[in-house]
Structure formats: structure tokens, C-alpha cells
Symmetry: C2
């Protein structure tokens, strides 16, 4: 809950979201990701740190490289948060619409 909501802050930055979307296609090393973006490699490394702390990605060493990958667990937590909120909000929305209708033919 408080875990999945921190993911919003992680995905707020456009560059960091591009990094995340790149990993959505498949695993990649830091240099590979940076080569496809208009920022430096250290910048990508810092973004990956944030994504990792948010539980959205995992990393594993591969020689001198370091391969990053989407973490389905963190992504699922975000989806769960949104689904629950969606259910509650939509219910409240429907109730509000209903209240508006009854108020129309039976004004307070």
C-alpha cells in the first residue's frame, strides 16, 4: 500500500519512466539503456537506484556489467493499489450520480 504508492513518485519523472519502459521490453545493462537516452550514464544509474528502491526493478551482476530487469512484484503492487482505488472511487461516483438524479425530482 504505502509501498505501491511510492511507485508513483518513481514513475513521475519522464526520463525515469523511459528507463522503466525500456526495461519493460526486456532486461538491459546500464550502458545499453543510457545509449538510447539523451542523458549521461550516471544519470541512468541514479534513476535505476530510485526504481530499485521503489521495488519496481531488480538488478544482477553479469561480469563487469549490471543487468536490470522489471520486478513483477512491485509492478503488481502498483496495479493492486490502483485497482482498489478504482473500485472505491467508481462506487462513490455511481452513488453521486444516483444522488443527483433523486435530487432532481425530489429537491431538498
Amino acid at each position: 500500500m504505502s509501498y505501491g504508492s511510492s511507485a508513483f513518485a518513481a514513475l513521475a519523472d519522464p526520463t525515469r519512466r523511459q528507463v522503466f519502459e525500456r526495461l519493460g521490453v526486456g532486461p538491459a545493462a546500464v550502458g545499453e539503456i543510457a545509449s538510447g537516452l539523451p542523458v549521461s550514464r550516471p544519470a541512468v544509474s541514479q534513476h535505476l537506484k530510485v526504481l530499485k528502491e521503489a521495488g519496481l526493478v531488480t538488478d544482477r551482476p553479469d561480469g563487469t556489467r549490471r543487468v536490470y530487469q522489471i520486478d513483477p512484484k512491485g509492478l503488481g503492487a502498483l496495479r493492486a493499489w490502483l485497482d482498489q482505488f478504482w473500485a472505491v472511487a467508481l462506487d462513490a461516483y455511481a452513488q453521486e450520480v444516483e444522488r443527483q438524479v433523486t435530487e432532481q425530482k425530489d429537491p431538498p
Copy 2:
């Protein structure tokens, strides 16, 4: 897409997310929302402006008050973005797991 992704930035701030969650329960005016939060009323007004520009809430005048409400359309766009990404990422993840397995018994 670019519409639903801007919602991440809108929901990144904790205070603004509290405002949004309050509206998830039901419609409310600016003063009502502010009275339940540790920030001033203008601060809430500014947060609502961001949420509105992100397509997450709508507003309607009610006398001197101004009632805000969740916009199911914007919330649905966010959900759609996440669902699509979830599908792609999970597919890539499964393929990666499969690749790891085959690599185990048939090393390159």
C-alpha cells in the same frame, strides 16, 4: 498514453495523493478537503489545479463553494496505461525466465 502518464506526476506528491484519496470517497469542496489536511487552503487549491490538468478530477460551482470530484475517465486512462504495460512487461519477463532455463541445460 501521454495523457495517462502525466497522471503519475500528479499522484507523485504525498499531499496531493491525500487530496485525491479524499475525493475517492466522494465529492468535496476545497475548504472541506483542506480542513482534513495539515496544509493551507490555497495549497489544496493548487493541488486540485494540478489534478484537474492531469484529467483526474472535475470541478463544478456550488454557490460560493467549488465542489471537486474524481474523473473516472482520467483514472481509467491511467489504469489502461498500467494494464498494457503490465501485459508487455510480464510477457518479456516470462520469456526471460524461459531463456534462463534453456541456457542452464544448453549453455552458449
